[in-house]
Symmetry: C2
Subunit: 657 residues, 2 copies
């Protein structure tokens, strides 16, 4: 089996509630329509029995010892596969991105799932979807699930939306161990002499004193080339035992995977046992942890360990960076993350394979699922197969980061971008009224209005142009809603093609599954055979400010950028610390191409304000803040948990959607 890729991905199953095959969305069968419109995502998910994950794994060419099964429907896939298939050519690599969305989202996940269902079950092409794991916090807050929806979703959706295989829990554990280590270390340094610290850090065990491996590494970094603890001078001991962390510079925060707004700002250390070393801190939602960004970008266990060690958590009192490695915790973090690094295999409603792996924030991080899942999937589908993955937010953010950060980390070259648009979002960009989550849509969105659509296509055009900056062909996928008129649909497709899209097709995957995305699949297949001249947007060697300016001007259409004094001094510090050659991860609103969410369409003439600049050194990027980014959601007055229940007899979950 060495070197063999999968022999087939023909996973389509008989559905208990069959999708209407070959019908257009305008004339659905009434009985089926009733089922679709009155069924929640979880009901549709449950109506389909997933195949056993070991069967799925065998279908796609995995060997028995390459998977670790978690229950009936999930399995982790071992990285050893990459070694076995290293001579296998990669498949085609497709990114699903979107136009500037409404707050409701325009359906990138459903397009991703619909597209692989169409490719695999309808065009007989091996394909794989690589998706992000959602945070559990919003599942119980306002959002409900995130497994796609309708007939284009990952099943079982409750497994997808809840603990999955524990990756986010592992991140939480690793993140918080490091946080605890920082404060405990400061306390111990503040309350002990050099000698006492040394005696405890390098204790006598069975009559002998020895450095641990990670302590020897620290000594080498400090330029102390000694291995016998008895030979250090007092000055060397002091250098060794004191990290001398400046508490006001700590950037490492604790995390929970819960929407807990009361943890946005807290004071810690108020018990007597902490001897008055209180400080103000915050908790972020777990997926905002730098460890999540590392999981998404890492390429191997060795690489992950190195990245974990390089994470900068604070500066010392001389302004030098203090890392996880300095705290002696790299190995423990790697141990906590040893299973999380393996992608989780699941399936779509039509039995197509899916990897769910990593889900970093799309503002303070890069918002893309993992490099490792993509790499493994590209080997598994074989040279003619397709791997479809998704970038968070609009193409100006998610796609730009996908190319400049994720593709740089992986070395992979994308074949096609699918740009998802909706008539609803285009009307908003054309001047339609506000779209707000929870409020009913205004009539502009439910009745035909060709003018609003035509005016809004400027945003689509701009996002197409952004894609073209990177030299990759773009196919527009118009995610059709039942209120869209045929004339509106035709208009969007026509304007998209006039704007330079390779093709533009309407999709009905939500209501019709893979069958509703067959045209999209055909267009993507053709586009993948086009000439591809992929390139990054900027060279890493440019100064940080220059890289920010290129993104702001070329992608967002800003006139220029303006750095606050804080931002400028952070840029200077990172440059001086040797971090100037990292790529840039912009933390900007996704609701506008500009920094002002209310400016729809294609804003021009604005100066992009950079309020602060931060760094995720382990993940490997600098992130400029354009405005304030919330890293901890809250619970509303009526959280969705009011509807969530478990049937104690059937063990079925109710109320996720």
């Amino acid at each position: 089996m060495k070197g063999a890729a999968c022999t087939g991905f023909r996973g389509k199953q008989t559905q208990k509630h069959p999708c209407p095959v070959g019908q257009s969305i305008q004339q659905p069968q009434i009985s089926w329509l009733l089922f679709v419109f009155f069924s929640s995502d979880i009901e549709i998910s449950r109506a389909q029995s997933p195949k056993a994950v070991d069967v799925l794994a065998k279908e796609i060419g995995l060997l028995t010892d390459e998977i670790e099964i978690y229950g009936q429907t999930k399995a982790k896939v071992r990285l050893s596969l990459l070694e076995r298939l290293k001579d296998q050519p990669d498949g085609k690599y497709v990114l699903v991105a979107g136009i500037t969305p409404t707050p409701l989202g325009e359906g990138k996940s459903t397009v991703t799932v619909g597209l692989v269902q169409a490719l695999t079950a309808h065009l007989n092409i091996n394909s794989f979807a690589c998706l992000r794991q959602p945070s559990q916090g919003p599942t119980f807050g306002v959002k409900g699930g995130a497994a796609g929806g309708g007939y284009a979703q990952v099943i079982p959706m409750e497994e997808f939306n809840l603990h999955l295989t524990g990756d986010i829990h592992a991140i939480t554990a690793a993140n918080n161990l490091l946080a605890a280590a920082i404060d405990a270390r400061i306390l111990h340094e503040n309350t002990q002499s050099d000698k006492s610290l040394y005696n405890r850090l390098v204790p006598v065990v069975n009559g002998m004193r020895g450095f641990s491996a990670i302590q020897l590494a620290r000594l080498r970094r400090l330029g102390i080339n000694k291995t016998d603890p008895e030979t250090l001078t007092e000055e060397e001991i002091s250098k060794f035992v004191r990290l001398d962390i400046d508490p006001s510079t700590i950037t490492w925060q604790r995390v929970v995977d819960t929407n807990d707004r009361f943890l946005r700002k807290v004071t810690v250390g108020q018990a007597n046992t902490e001897k008055g070393f209180v400080r103000q801190a915050q908790f972020d939602i777990a997926v905002a942890s730098e460890i999540m960004a590392i999981l998404a970008l890492t390429t191997s266990l060795q690489d992950m360990k190195e990245r974990l060690g390089k994470m900068v958590v604070a500066n010392d009192k001389k302004g030098e960076p203090v890392t996880a490695e300095d705290l002696g915790v790299t190995g423990a973090l790697a141990v906590l993350m040893k299973d999380a690094i393996k992608p989780t295999l699941m399936q779509t409603l039509e039995g197509t394979p899916v990897f769910v792996h990593a889900g970093p924030f799309a503002n303070i991080a890069h918002g893309n699922s993992s490099v490792l899942a993509d790499k493994i999937a590209l080997k598994l589908v074989g040279e003619k197969g397709f791997v479809v993955t998704e970038a968070g937010f609009g193409a100006d953010i998610g796609m730009e980061k996908f190319f400049n950060i994720k593709c740089r980390a992986s070395g992979l070259v994308p074949s096609v971008v699918v740009l998802v648009a909706t008539v609803r979002a285009l009307k908003m960009h054309g001047g339609g009224p506000n779209v707000t989550a929870g409020a009913p849509l205004k009539k502009e969105y439910t009745e035909e209005n060709l003018q609003l659509v035509a005016d809004g296509c400027c945003n689509l055009q701009k996002q197409i142009q952004i894609t073209q900056l990177f030299g990759v062909p773009v196919v527009v996928a118009l995610n059709v809603f039942k209120t869209d008129s045929p004339a509106e649909v035709d208009l969007v497709c026509k304007m998209a093609k006039e704007s330079g899209a390779f093709d533009a097709v309407p999709c009905n995957h939500w209501s019709a599954g893979g069958r509703g995305a067959v045209k999209l699949a055909q267009a993507v297949e053709k586009a993948a055979n086009q000439k591809n001249s992929f390139k990054y947007l900027y060279s890493l060697e440019l100064p940080i400010v220059e890289k920010i300016r290129i993104i702001a001007q070329k992608v967002y259409g800003a006139q220029d950028i303006e750095l606050s004094p804080t931002a400028q001094s952070q840029v200077d510090r990172y440059t001086q610390q040797g971090f100037g050659n990292l790529p840039i991860c912009m933390a900007k609103t996704h609701l506008s191409l500009s920094h002002q969410p209310e400016r729809k369409g294609v804003p021009t003439g604005f100066i992009l304000p950079i309020s602060d600049v931060r760094a995720s050194i382990g993940a490997g990027f600098i992130y400029p803040l354009v405005g304030t980014m919330s890293t901890m959601p809250g619970l509303p007055t009526r959280p969705c948990f009011y509807d969530i229940d478990l049937d104690p007899i059937t063990e079925q979950v109710k109320g996720l959607f």
Copy 2:
């Protein structure tokens, strides 16, 4: 297969590093001794390849659809098994408890593992060990692993000690969702009118307003027998929308599974978005969550859901209890816990089956593994088989709670108590010098000293007498160390038998595996056929104070108890709230029979001071505090993570012990 129990538990495997069979501990082979003494627990664990968990599951009579495999060596077992085997008679039920321990621990876990290894592989009797899942916090702090040790451990020990199958992570998620819900609810009530709260809690969806199931339940509890949201009076609306929580009475704390001392006392809500509603709070280690105690005591999914709903998190401003059910979160908590309720199957070094399930604190909770794991194991071993489980701390605490709390919840009747003693602990009780973790043992403990042993046997005698209060036969297991002399060993066994033990035998399971516990297994088998007149120590109908007094006097040997005014007022409140009939879970030091850790042997004449009384209503017990109990450990100057590492090539974990 319906109704069939397991056909055999003969799981002994060829060991790469064989245990010395039939040798006494005094004359070990030199080469083997070197291996044992220079091997860490993780090296011994790794030297043995565990059998695949599906093979193990088949051996013990589980059907394919009754297990959910997690990787190669762990599986969750479905509760449906209890229904299939409901007519199968239970096996014998053995509790491993201990004398009052030194801070080093006396080896209850190793005895538990050694005993089942001896029963299964050497006496050919089906047996099962049921163990607690350890908290991950101490694994990286001071303690290292908790899977037993030497040749009597659960393998792979790194899987046992790390995430396992995610149960503690699920508890953390559920615990913290409830915590977030409490603070968010207070904020929303404080910032909105009744009308606005009602509009949000019972929103108009598709033109209609409806209560969710959990809101209808709340209306019924409030005596409002209406189902149409439009018909509530203003007064009824106000009653419905306002939980009116008194923030000063909140007892529900957030948790993390990390030793993070800076979270012992914190102030939350300091961001502007929380509008000044700051309050002081604390984080506990995850295993201190009431949800962990519920997991350990629950008997079914339905029962767990009811217990989760009944958890009291605070009082309202009238002094009435506010529950998780009032907050509308019961169903969501049950959903988060739906997999955690299934015990995890693993194996010992000799291939004997082990359930790892739940690990509540042994002071503020009852310190015993789960009722469900015991129940399932008792069916699986069959009528002649043995299930061995363990109680935290000394018998005065762990065993007393096992009988009065856990056996009451399960209805199970124990057959035998194994009381673990060491020469070391007995010498300490006989007046030997202090034993401190991390410091070398004084010579009294490494050289023969029959007088200290003889004097210290009073503690063993007292713990035997405590066991006899419950009418269960007791076998003393002397956990032999290499420094114990034959005369010391003989003396302990003789005095134990004179004190009323059914038998007393030396055990060498740590160095010799199951073979080292064969005599213990034979004694336990005989004892299990003795007359058993098991009884609880007190009736639930007695007043709270009376129940506390019975435990203090009969078990601890106190002269009397003394309640602080706070404790008395809490007793009055719980009694008035209708919680007076719950069993008592004493939160007392385990280092003495009294409340003073330094008083060894058998202290007398003391008055047990009850400083406070708290309640875990969902778990179902009242817990009086005897002194201060820390619910959040810290990291020392040199946490064990300095030694923990992951080999990126072999993926092996190093440095756990």
